[in-house]
């Protein structure tokens, strides 16, 4: 039944990207503690001599990059942070500002393209923060960070130039497009 449990666990840990307790892991993959522990041992063996390792701390486990590559990853991190923001990122940021918080779908409708990678670039730099949508717990809202507003010298987005006009245009267009796209994807046969 659970013969490839170590693969299952690898997939979960890879996807999660942060530590999980052995207990929680057992719940997710529907296996007992002994089984989980055995599978983790197998996973450790399989990961020997690879770029990714299993990190154990108390009862938590996580996947991480192998220690011999730590300086490579550090350099990469520095470089990424010092890179210029792309035009796409700046545009995405402007929409989040003028809509005063937007879901990824809102931003995608307005830009006409998928924005997940540009959103990531903005969160890494602390320009936006991701919160759970208070109206729908199954999605996230990106909003301008406090630091961003103070950097721009405004106390609230309402102080942005021509806020009301642009906010109205963006919100109207987003609703309209969401509607049209919904129709499109629902017109199944």
């Amino acid at each position: 039944m659970n013969e490839n449990l170590e693969n299952k666990i690898e997939a979960v840990l890879f996807w999660k990207g942060e530590p999980l307790s052995r207990k929680r892991l057992g719940e997710i993959v529907k296996a007992g503690q002994t089984e989980v522990n055995e599978a983790l041992e197998k996973l450790k063996e399989k990961l020997a001599g690879r770029g990714v390792v299993l990190i154990e701390k108390d009862n938590d486990v996580a996947l991480g990059t192998a220690p011999e590559f730590s300086s490579l990853i550090e350099d990469l991190q520095k470089e990424e942070l010092n890179r210029e923001l792309s035009k796409a990122s700046l545009e995405t940021l402007s929409i989040i500002l003028y809509k005063d918080g937007a879901s990824r779908a809102d931003i995608d409708y307005i830009r006409g393209v998928n924005s997940s990678f540009t959103l990531r670039a903005l969160s890494v730099r602390g320009l936006v923060e991701r919160i759970t949508d208070p109206r729908d717990s199954r999605r996230y809202i990106y909003r301008p960070s406090f630091e961003l507003l103070s950097y721009m010298g405004v106390k609230s987005v309402k102080e942005l130039p021509e806020y009301e006009e642009i906010e109205k245009a963006i919100t109207g267009a987003a609703a309209n497009l969401a509607e049209m796209t919904k129709e499109e994807s629902q017109a199944t046969e």
Binding site: F14, W15, K16, G17, E18, L81, N82, E84, L85, L90, E91, L93, S94, I95, L97, Y98, I110, R111, G112, S116, R120, S123, V124, R125, G126, L127, E129, R130, S145, E147, L148, Y151, M152, G153, V154, L160, P161, E162, I166, A169, I170, A173, L177
Partner: protein, 250 residues
């Protein structure tokens, strides 16, 4: 393969077709035929009937049906009038239509495979990492002014409701011309006077009706159901019904 008139008023009327190829393919497949000039000639009338009943809501949508209708009429005319000489351009149009239809058929097959697999076994990218918001790294290009400009530009690029472009309007017009040209083309090939038929047709819909009934008449002639009598060239055609025995021979 003899079908009655009642069988011919197909169920296709109840289904909406995205475009001309879906309709054509459904008509051909309903008759369990392969795509070739013979099968296309056989479905032409039903195709034209369907197109004629389309709600005139979106001219660009209808225009895509009409473009194909023109080629179908050529194919039909050729099958009914073996003496009709087609220009090389017309022959090319026919060949192209068959090729496009085969290509479309291929993609219909592909899309059912895509539908079957889509979303069934998803490969997930890692979840978005939670950020320890310890870093704040702004970019000097972020300012009140620049953000306003970016937001404005994004809003300006949002497409308005899809509108009929100029090219598409032009296409519709040229199709009407094409149908005109076609009816005179058939007329001259047959040396019949078509005025009773075509004289009253002013709109595109009426012209399509004329062509449909003209083709129907030729079809019936070939099947020996009616006999077309034309006293002299350039005079009106009269039709008469033949005795039922002769009709069943074919």
């Amino acid at each position: 393969m003899q079908t009655t008139a009642a069988d011919n008023s197909y169920k296709v009327k109840t289904t909406a077709f995205e475009g001309p190829f879906g309709l054509l393919l459904a008509l051909v497949e309903e008759r369990k035929l392969f795509i070739n000039d013979l099968s296309l000639a056989e479905v032409t009338e039903d195709y034209l009937k369907y197109v004629n009943n389309l709600p005139a809501a979106d001219p660009s949508e209808i225009s895509s049906f009409i473009v194909i209708a023109a080629t179908l009429i050529l194919i039909k005319s050729k099958s009914l009038l073996p003496g009709l000489n087609l220009t090389s351009e017309e022959e090319g149009d026919i060949r192209k239509l068959e090729e496009r239809l085969r290509l479309y058929e291929l993609f219909m097959r592909v899309s059912s495979a895509v539908k079957k697999n889509f979303g069934k076994r998803i490969i997930f990218p890692p979840e978005e990492r939670k950020m320890d918001t310890l870093v704040f790294l702004p970019d000097e290009r972020i300012s009140r002014e620049s953000m306003m400009e970016f937001a404005r530009a994004a809003v300006d690029r949002i497409p308005k409701k899809p509108v009929l472009s100029e090219v598409e309007v032009k296409k519709v017009v040229s199709i009407e011309e094409m149908i005109d040209r076609l009816s005179s083309r058939i007329q001259s090939a047959l040396k019949v006077n078509f005025k009773e038929f075509a004289g009253r047709a002013a709109t595109r819909e009426e012209k399509v009706v004329v062509i449909v009934s003209f083709l129907a008449m030729l079809e019936l002639t070939r099947q020996g159901i009616i006999d077309v009598i034309q006293e002299n060239n350039f005079e009106d055609i009269t039709m008469e019904k033949l005795a039922p025995e002769s009709a069943s021979q074919i």
